[in-house]
């Protein structure tokens, strides 16, 4: 690694819970090169936000260390190198959108032009509105403008598209692509495989507070992107179905069978060729939770 990298080493963090300590993060090691776009992918409660809070210096790890461009996170933040959009949070009231973004811009050594940040986040048209009169999606975009106006070297986004509709998501990721193209290092947490796949160079899979996989998104997608085929198909032996091309396991409930598939395209062709009587066919992408259960052996 070089000082231009971001390094999370041996991170461990527990919280006090009603039934003893909750181990939110139990040993996370990641090195991110400058300019990379990395998705932290995992189901809810996997430890993504806790990891991000430690990356930003909002939480102190119980064990391990964080280095952002060769500095502790608090120092990188103090130098204005980091911009962030946290998962929860509203905006402070009694200011217009433009005033709020200008207020935040004034805290940074070399901010973007306020109008440019408003434009990038797609909030130029609501710049004169008061921050307490915005919809959820508008609020989210203003928070993005706040993150962008700092013109950071590292942009950290925790579940950034949760409050956005489909159109909003497209606009959001288009903005992020522009930032990435300017060399900004981007780390974002998401529980949407599609988002990680479409946008990140690399995905780090987190489950139960630990990394279960780390690699290019294409590889990760192959690992967790299994699909299932459900069909009504009485009187066919499970073993025979499992022997079909592309099928990795089967399960029967009454007349219905569920085929877990490594390659659902091959499997559906083989299924219909062998058993044309199969009906009520549904093909679905396995949820990330299911994929994680498979990856972590259900533990």
């Amino acid at each position: 690694m070089s000082t231009a990298d971001i390094e999370l080493r041996g991170l461990v963090k527990s919280f006090r819970g009603p039934d003893g300590p909750i181990r939110a993060v139990r040993g996370v090691d990641v090195t991110i090169a400058a300019g990379e776009t990395v998705a932290l992918l995992g189901p809810n409660g996997a430890g993504k936000s806790t990891t991000i809070d430690m990356l930003l210096g909002l939480l102190r790890p119980d064990e391990g260390s964080v280095s952002v461009f060769g500095r502790p996170p608090a120092e990188a933040v103090a130098h204005g190198a980091v911009g962030g959009m946290l998962q929860t949070g509203a905006l402070i009231r009694d200011l217009s959108v433009r005033e709020l973004v200008a207020m935040m811009a004034s805290l940074y050594p070399a901010p973007l032009d306020v109008d440019e940040a408003l434009g990038l986040a797609g909030v130029s048209e609501i710049a004169a509105q008061r921050t307490n009169k915005l919809s959820g999606g508008q609020t989210q975009r203003v928070r993005l403008a706040v993150a962008l106006v700092s013109d950071p070297q590292l942009l950290v986004l925790d579940e950034p598209t949760v409050a956005l509709d489909v159109e909003g998501r497209h606009a959001f990721w288009a903005t992020m692509r522009a930032s990435a193209a300017r060399g900004t290092t981007i780390v974002f947490a998401t529980h949407y495989l599609e988002e990680a796949d479409a946008f990140a160079d690399r995905a780090v899979l987190i489950a139960h507070g630990a990394i279960v996989a780390d690699g290019p998104t294409t590889e990760i997608k192959a690992m967790v992107g299994t699909r299932t085929i459900r069909a009504t198909l009485p009187e066919v032996d499970g073993g025979a179905l499992e022997a079909l091309a592309g099928v990795s396991s089967t399960e029967r409930r009454g007349d219905a069978v569920t085929l877990r598939c490594a390659d659902s395209d091959a499997a559906i062709r083989a299924l219909l060729a062998a058993y044309p009587q199969a009906r009520d066919i549904e093909i679905a992408a396995a949820g990330l939770e299911q994929a994680f259960l498979a990856l972590t052996g259900g533990s």
Partner: protein, 244 residues
């Protein structure tokens, strides 16, 4: 201090209507209600101070205390929406954050003070320029422990609970401070009142006597409250943010 940031923070505070009602409207209305029928009383309850002057300072101490403690309400509101976390990932230092909050508290306190001075003058209060200045100086110094108390409450309480806590707290401090009626020079209440910073805040009106309004005891009480509340506020902040 980040000046543009300060400007917007002040602007934001000036736009908050609820605040204006509590620390400006309420004491002003009370002042006129209480003082109008008694504006010609020159020696109020043996205090040696005229009725309009006594209540001008009493209600100014009420209004300025509310103004300072309302920094706490703003901190609590910002914590509730997660804005303090957003600020912690900017180069704004916690020290600067608190400085700006205290500064906005002082700005509102000065507005409240000037409004009550104007009301007082309209009711016949007449002081020399020197007396006005010394009295104002003492009141501004007397607000320091309340700034620390505001920061402390802002980190201990939620926006839901801070309203009642502040209302009750200010009423009690005002009562013990002699805002509503003079506290006589002996007895248990007097002994307690002398240990409360709001008492000395209201005592700033004694400047009109031509005597020093604050004996050494006042300075010690103020310094002690500032140190204790300041330390508690710093601890509450650290616990709240997990920076132990």
């Amino acid at each position: 201090m980040p000046l543009v940031y300060v400007r917007y923070e002040l602007l934001r505070t000036l736009r908050n209507r609820r605040f204006f009602l509590l620390s400006l409207g309420f004491p002003l209305v009370l002042y006129f209600v209480i003082v109008s029928p008694n504006r010609h009383v020159h020696n109020f309850d043996g205090s040696g101070i005229s009725f309009p002057l006594y209540y001008m300072v009493g209600l100014a101490s009420f209004g300025t205390m509310s103004a300072m403690l309302s920094c706490g309400a703003r901190i609590a509101a910002e914590r509730a929406v997660g804005w303090n976390r957003q600020l912690r990932i900017t180069p704004l230092t916690p020290r600067a954050y608190f400085r700006v909050k205290v500064l906005t508290g002082y700005m509102m306190a000065v507005i409240s003070l000037l409004a009550l001075y104007a009301a007082g003058v309209s009711m016949g209060v007449s002081l020399t320029a020197d007396e006005w200045l010394r009295m104002t100086g003492l009141m501004l110094i007397g607000l320091v422990p309340f700034a620390a108390l505001g920061v402390l409450l802002g980190h201990l309480l939620t926006p839901d609970s801070i309203g009642p806590a502040m209302g009750g707290g200010i009423s009690l401090l005002a009562l013990l401070g002699g805002t509503w009626f003079p506290i006589s020079g002996h007895g248990f209440l007097y002994d307690v009142a002398q240990l409360i910073p709001s008492y000395w805040l209201a005592q700033a009106s004694h400047i009109a006597f031509g005597e020093h309004a604050w004996p050494a005891k006042a300075w010690i009480v103020m310094a002690a409250w500032t140190i204790v509340l300041g330390a508690l506020a710093a601890r509450a902040y650290r616990r709240d943010t997990g920076r132990v």
